[in-house]
């Protein structure tokens, strides 16, 4: 069940919210949220829900054991990490692993088809955050299984993040404020995310699919770039919109999650980009992988090794396909280059470093988007001046003409312009009224898009 779906907004949410706000007891409230989360997960994963619950119980048990037998702390930590990584490996990477072995060694082992449970990359990472926090003594062990259950399975962040770290949220599980102000702020944040997802990301996605799925031999250079930009906008508005919806939902129920995106497309370097993009993942890797590896304190060579390791892991985390590895290394390569002096060089020219960063990011997302290598090579060659292709053609102009407004709005909202305006006028009554009207109109429009996506004229008399 997606947040941007009719069943979530019009049925699931009211059914959860009404009892939640009528009952003031936090234990019962937590109970409602756990039940709602398990239902939410089983709606999409009726079988894997058992797997998730088992994984939570196991991590809970290992942490309790860790607390009891401090001498064997490391053993329980290792066991827990092995289980979590093992689960992730089995469900997500077995297919890729076997097919890669087949390619490298010329073997013919049957590639197993294993269903990938939604959100497994998120909940295993949250479980590891918990167990490592406890191991390090950053937080006390959680004595109540229900509290840990709520932390890991809480539906707003369960299937697409943000990856909430245990030490950031622990106290809110048993002590949080729930009131109309937070409810309202949460609603507004949820709506912002809904608009980003439904009105921008989905339409940018249609543009990208039209271009990348069309006939590549007639694609123009401009068209290829338009497609790449459309995909970059799609993935940002989709993902950050989803994070907005998650943060908003969390706030509705009284939780405060950390921000997950901070206008990544205004970055002036790849290093800055990663401080602004999917922040909960990059800080997860920083706290639980990069720093334990020694971070940047063990000399240059070791720092570069650590960086490459983190980017490699970040890449492969996004999906079981080699193009994600290349995408990770692509970013790692440029961030090392920046450390080696490119950064200083680019800092001399403000505009140039924006152009450089966006170019690397946009080409990176093409690598991210196209899993098939020969198709990827073909697409990139059109982007990078292939003399067989025109610079622009009619089809590019037509796409621009039909999508101009969407692209302009997307570009404006990729920068903090709107936030600046809002901060300036937030006490102005006319502005506030205008904003309220706009939110309600955009909500109705989003519903129109959601309803239309399931409207399929079936032309049965095309016999």
């Amino acid at each position: 069940m997606l947040f941007s779906s009719l069943e979530f907004i019009f049925l699931f949410l009211p059914i959860v919210c009404i009892p939640y706000f009528l009952i003031k007891n936090i234990k019962i409230r937590n109970g409602i949220l756990i039940l709602a989360s398990l239902f939410f997960y089983s709606f999409g994963e009726p079988k894997a829900v058992v797997l998730m619950v088992m994984s939570i119980v196991l991590n809970y048990g290992l942490a309790v054991l860790m607390e009891k037998h401090t001498s064997a702390k490391k053993l329980f930590l290792t066991a827990s990490i092995l289980v979590n990584i093992g689960l992730l490996f089995w469900y997500k990477y077995t297919g890729l692993f076997v097919s890669s072995i087949n390619t490298v060694f010329g073997l013919n082992i049957d590639v197993p088809v294993i269903h990938l449970p939604i959100g497994i990359s998120f909940f295993t990472f949250q479980a590891m955050s918990y167990i490592i926090d406890v191991y390090r003594g950053d937080t006390p062990v959680q004595k109540k299984l229900s509290h840990l259950m709520l932390y890991i399975s809480f539906f707003p962040q369960l299937i697409a993040g943000p990856i909430v770290k245990y030490h950031d949220i622990e106290k809110q599980i048993y002590e949080r404020r729930v009131d109309i102000a937070k409810y309202s702020a949460g609603c507004k944040r949820f709506l912002t995310g809904l608009f980003k997802k439904v009105l921008i990301a989905n339409n940018a996605g249609i543009l990208w699919e039209g271009i990348s799925g069309g006939d590549i031999s007639t694609l123009s250079l401009g068209g290829a770039w338009l497609g790449a930009i459309a995909y970059s906008l799609q993935i940002y508005f989709d993902f950050s919109g989803y994070s907005d919806m998650a943060i908003g939902l969390g706030r509705i129920f009284g939780f405060e999650f950390l921000e997950n995106f901070n206008y990544p497309y205004i970055s002036r370097s790849i290093r800055e980009f990663w401080r602004r993009w999917h922040i909960s993942l990059s800080t997860w890797f920083k706290e639980y992988l990069y720093i334990p590896l020694g971070g940047s304190r063990k000399g240059n060579i070791r720092t570069y090794f650590n960086l490459i390791t983190v980017f490699l892991c970040t890449g492969i985390w996004h999906g079981a396909s080699w193009n994600f590895v290349i995408w990770g290394l692509w970013h790692g390569f440029f961030s090392i280059l920046e450390r080696l002096g490119l950064g200083k060089l680019l800092d001399k020219c403000r505009i140039l470093n924006h152009i450089y960063t966006l170019t690397v990011v946009v080409i990176g997302f093409v690598i991210f988007a196209i899993t098939d290598f020969s198709a990827l090579r073909e697409y990139l060659s059109v982007m990078l001046l292939n003399s067989n292709h025109m610079l622009i053609n009619d089809s590019l102009i037509f796409s621009l003409r039909c999508n101009a407004l969407m692209l302009i709005v997307a570009a404006v909202f990729s920068a903090p312009l709107y936030t600046l305006i809002r901060n300036k006028f937030k006490d102005n009554a006319v502005y506030a009224l205008g904003e309220a009207v706009l939110f309600i109109l955009l909500f109705v429009l989003s519903i129109a898009y959601l309803v239309s996506s399931a409207y399929n004229p079936f032309l049965y008399f095309r016999f």
């Binding site: 069940m1 009719l6 009211p14 999409g44 702020a185 006939d215 003409r401 309220a436 008399f461």
Partner: protein, 366 residues
């Protein structure tokens, strides 16, 4: 003001949720021509496979309050605010609407099927008529810079790879269009009766028959309120319906629709429904057998086709004693066997280029 927003949105959500629960549900959407999802029965296996939840999702979107109004809103927003000229696969042109042509995926399979059909006929010749549609014939009316795929390439590939007599309509349709005739509906994916007449004349020329002039028919406008499949895709309620013409004539016919006898090629009951094009040849039947009791001709014809043929067949009856019309999806036997067993003289395959690629009847034509 945050509170105002959240309160209004909460009320909207609750009102729609309540309306969804309380409102009576219909089982059929005329606009979409399909049965709507029923509330699924709870079965353990369906829950475990996730099918139950998928059905629930479809149930909710199929019965959402004001559903059709929301589709209208989206179309009007895209057309008037975004200024888009391609909405839900329909090009918005100045004076008409044209359905987009999607990249064909099955051309090789279609060629192989037609050749197999020819082989099964045992050396007997057959005629193939592929109808280029509005997007090809009215390409000059498309919005500026629109550059859809050409149907002609695929059409020529099929024509040149299938061993049969080709009846190419392109030149004739373009010629008639230039005279200012409306050969395709603006709000439906079919050709008009005038378009079908061009098909008929071209067929006669190919077969060496003398086509009847238009003056031989009593041309009647049977409705001015036809809102077909293109209308359904847009659901733009500001659009007015268009007319359907019937070229009538006094011929004594016996028509067997799957064995049920009638004396008409038209079923005017469809004029009261949304799907008005179905009045031609009474919609879908696995076999329609038409006997002309007036003609001296002894020729017989078998047609395997899509719905484009339905408005052309009324012209053809003048040249045949008997016409057999097959819907290959539901006809149990093989058309080629029927042709051999009944010594049919002529065999015609007729499909339009826009839907031939996805037509499920083509696969089973032999």
């Amino acid at each position: 003001m945050n509170k105002v927003i959240s309160v209004v949105i909460t009320i909207i959500i609750l009102v729609f949720a309540l309306a969804f629960v309380l409102m009576p549900k219909s089982d059929f959407s005329e606009n979409e021509n399909r049965t709507l999802q029923e509330f699924p029965r709870l079965k353990a296996e369906d829950v475990l496979s996730g099918e139950y939840m998928e059905d629930i999702t479809s149930y909710i979107s199929d019965h959402f309050p004001l559903r059709s109004g929301f589709v209208t809103l989206k179309t009007l927003f895209e057309k008037n605010v975004l200024g888009s000229r391609l909405i839900n696969g329909i090009y918005i042109c100045d004076d008409m609407y044209i359905e987009d042509y999607e990249k064909p995926e099955n051309t090789d399979r279609i060629i192989a099927t037609f050749n197999k059909f020819g082989k099964n006929l045992g050396g007997k010749d057959f005629d193939l008529m592929l109808v280029p549609t509005a997007i090809e014939i009215y390409s000059d009316r498309l919005p500026r810079f629109a550059s859809p795929l050409s149907q002609l390439e695929t059409m020529d590939e099929i024509y040149s790879s299938v061993d049969c007599n080709n009846i190419d309509l392109y030149e004739a349709l373009v010629f008639e269009k230039k005279k200012g005739r409306r050969l395709f509906y603006s709000l439906d994916h079919h050709w008009t009766t005038e378009g079908a007449y061009v098909g008929y004349v071209t067929y006669c020329r190919a077969k060496g028959f003398e086509p009847l002039p238009e003056s031989a028919f009593d041309i009647k406008t049977v409705t001015e309120d036809f809102k077909g499949t293109i209308y359904s895709k847009l659901n733009d309620i500001t659009l007015k319906g268009e007319e359907i013409k019937v070229y009538d004539q006094n011929t004594d016919l016996t028509v067997l629709y799957d064995g049920e006898e009638s004396n008409s090629l038209y079923n005017y009951e469809y004029l009261d429904k949304k799907d008005k094009y179905s009045l031609f040849l009474n919609n879908i039947h696995s076999l329609v057998e038409i006997t002309n009791n007036n003609t001296e001709s002894t020729r017989t014809l078998a047609i395997a086709k899509d719905s484009y043929a339905n408005s052309m067949i009324p012209f053809l009856v003048n040249h045949y004693k008997k016409i057999y019309v097959f819907d290959t999806r539901s006809y149990k036997g093989a058309v080629s066997d029927f042709v051999k067993e009944n010594n049919v003289d002529d065999v015609l395959i007729l499909y339009n280029m826009n839907t031939i690629d996805t037509d499920t009847g083509v696969n089973v034509i032999y």
